[in-house]
């Protein structure tokens, strides 16, 4: 297991290298260079070359990449063109909120989706099952921004409720923070719940058909023991895979939700940076999100063997 973990970590190096090259090159392809963005179109040649030198833009592209990535490796993601602040500090500050939103959404979705998925599988082909299937399909079909808009509409028109607009961190005021986060978490969690519900239902169904379940039932085990001690444990791997994938998707999906609910998270940072053409921030934040995404997938992979000791890694 340790050897496998080390090997997987080593395998991440080329992928992360590829990701960094991809992001670096894509940022270089953006029309209009950084210098023009900062100085405007009426800048003199002298001021342009001075700034190019300052940012190392006069160097060959491989040298520029080398300089950037060497900085990234020691935690220096550069500085924002707009604020002049270090990019990494901004990313980490914003990430706390995004992570909180992601985890809260994921938690809300699990407590709804896993029990409903199990119930649907146990009551297969009944009206309960049909209802759960429709709910789960609606969950994955309703775009989070549409749901957020409709939810805000209903709350404001019928209940005169408006979510707080000034962000308060969890440390400052946990109650107020939860008031702010609950609505966006419900919206984000709904889509995830749909996917998890479908996966739970289909995998539990598949496990329930297997011979060992018949044997356990023949031995007189109660249905509760069959479901929770055996079926669910064996169904956890695909469920875990979809949960892992969804957490990654949630991290990206927060871009819109943070915008709608005015939450100063990582998604909003990326969007604002794109609109302001603040390339170092876009570059750093996208790299950071991709890194977290890859790490989540790795953790999910490693959890497989914990959940199912039959899985051995060569």
């Amino acid at each position: 297991m340790i050897a496998y973990t080390i090997r997987r970590l080593l395998m991440l190096i080329p992928v992360l290298f590829g990701i960094s090259v991809f992001i670096f090159l894509i940022m270089k392809m953006i029309p209009g260079d950084v210098v023009s963005t900062m100085l405007g179109t009426e800048a003199t040649d002298e001021s342009r070359s001075q700034l190019e030198k300052q940012f190392g833009l006069n160097l060959p592209i491989y040298q520029q990449y080398y300089n950037w990535i060497s900085g990234v490796l020691v935690g220096d993601f550069g500085v924002s063109l707009r604020t002049g602040k270090p990019v990494l500090g901004d990313i980490l500050n914003r990430f706390t909120l995004t992570l909180e939103l992601t985890l809260l959404s994921a938690f809300l979705s699990w407590i709804i989706a896993i029990p409903l998925g199990i119930i649907a599988a146990i009551k297969r082909n009944t009206s309960t099952d049909f209802g759960v299937r429709i709910i789960s399909l609606l969950g994955v079909s309703v775009p989070n921004f549409a749901l957020a808009t409709l939810l805000l509409l209903i709350l404001s028109v019928f209940f005169s409720y408006y979510p707080p607009s000034t962000y308060v961190s969890l440390v400052e005021d946990p109650v107020k923070n939860l008031q702010m986060m609950i609505l966006p978490s419900i919206v984000l969690g709904t889509a995830m719940a749909g996917a998890v519900m479908r996966m739970t239902r289909s995998t539990v169904l598949e496990v329930l058909r297997q011979d060992f379940i018949r044997t356990i039932r023949a031995k007189g085990a109660s249905e509760r023991v069959v479901i929770f001690n055996h079926a669910l444990k064996n169904a956890m791997i695909p469920i875990l895979t979809i949960i892992g994938m969804q957490i990654g998707v949630l991290l990206g999906g927060t871009v819109i939700i943070e915008q709608i609910f005015s939450l100063p998270g990582l998604g909003q940072l990326v969007l604002t940076a794109i609109n302001q053409r603040d390339y170092p921030v876009v570059q750093g934040a996208v790299l950071f999100i991709a890194f977290v995404f890859v790490m989540i997938n790795l953790i999910v992979d490693l959890l497989y063997s914990y959940l199912d000791p039959r899985i051995t890694y060569k």
């Binding site: 992001i23 029309p31 399909l137 775009p143």
Partner: protein, 276 residues
């Protein structure tokens, strides 16, 4: 194909999906031709009017007819969906075919590039590509096409690897059939089932991504209507004119729902494991 159609007819849920998708297609292609108003025409004296006989879905803050804009938005969504999935499916089909058939270093190079693209959440990758190319209808389609390429590549590659080991392929190769003929005449037709399922599922994803990009102001640019941008614009007037939000939201949800229903049914029909 006839078997798929007859099984779809028997599957009630799938049938709802088929009918829904057909209605959406009719709405997208014929709707804009028969709408009572020009979707971009502003009726200055009729701003923020509720649904009426003249404006079935009401008007927006510029006095534009929402029904006409929703119909035109359907066309835009379908157009973007079809073209972008077309781009992703074509690229994915070719890459997947090459990677799966030749394997070795070609496979390694292609799949590692796909791994890199897979390392980004969809919307974030689309956002970054649009930031590079600039927001426009064409660039939105290109961005979404690139986002969907890895999933098609993986699907096709996996199918090619299993098909190419089959006896009829070995026989074709042993009697000297040329490689390109083996690939396009013998392997390709046998990997269509998962490919078609993926296309249906990707269509809903592409429509969703377009709406999301337009919602963020980085997709279809005004005055061209898009369900996403209409929803975004509605946020300011939600309390006094809720119809601006309700209609585009309902149409996005119904469209995605129907494509998902159809995709799900096709997957059930074409997946031999689920057929048992």
């Amino acid at each position: 194909m006839s078997e798929i159609i007859s099984r779809l007819k028997k599957d009630k849920v799938g049938l709802v999906g088929v009918i829904g998708v057909l209605l959406v297609l009719v709405m997208g292609f014929i709707g804009p031709l028969v709408t009572p108003h020009d979707p971009t025409e502003m009726y200055k004296s009729h701003t923020l009017e509720g649904p009426s006989a003249t404006h079935w879905f009401g008007t927006d803050d510029f006095g534009r007819d929402i029904f006409s804009r929703v119909m035109q938005g359907a066309r835009v969504s379908l157009y973007v969906g079809l073209i972008s999935v077309g781009i992703g499916a074509t690229l994915g089909f070719l890459f997947g075919l090459i990677a799966g058939f030749f394997q070795g270093w070609v496979d390694n190079v292609i799949m590692r590039i796909m791994d890199i693209l897979f390392a980004f959440p969809d919307i974030l990758l689309a956002l970054t590509i649009v930031a590079v190319l600039g927001p426009s209808l064409r660039n939105t389609m290109v961005a979404i096409g690139i986002v969907f390429t890895p999933v098609f590549t993986r699907t096709v590659r996996a199918a090619v690897i299993s098909v190419k080991e089959m006896e009829f392929i070995t026989s074709a190769r042993s009697i000297g059939v040329k490689t390109h003929k083996v690939i396009f005449k013998h392997v390709s037709p046998n990997i269509l089932a998962p490919f078609i399922v993926q296309i249906t599922l990707a269509l809903s994803g592409a429509i969703l991504t377009e709406a999301a990009l337009s919602f963020l102001g980085l997709g279809i640019q005004p005055p061209e209507p898009s369900w996403g941008s209409m929803l975004n614009a509605s946020r300011q007037y939600m309390e006094i004119a809720p119809w601006i939000a309700i209609f585009p939201a309902i149409f996005i949800i119904i469209t995605i729902f129907c494509f998902n229903l159809l995709g799900d049914s096709l997957r059930d029909i074409l997946d031999p494991k689920l057929n048992q």
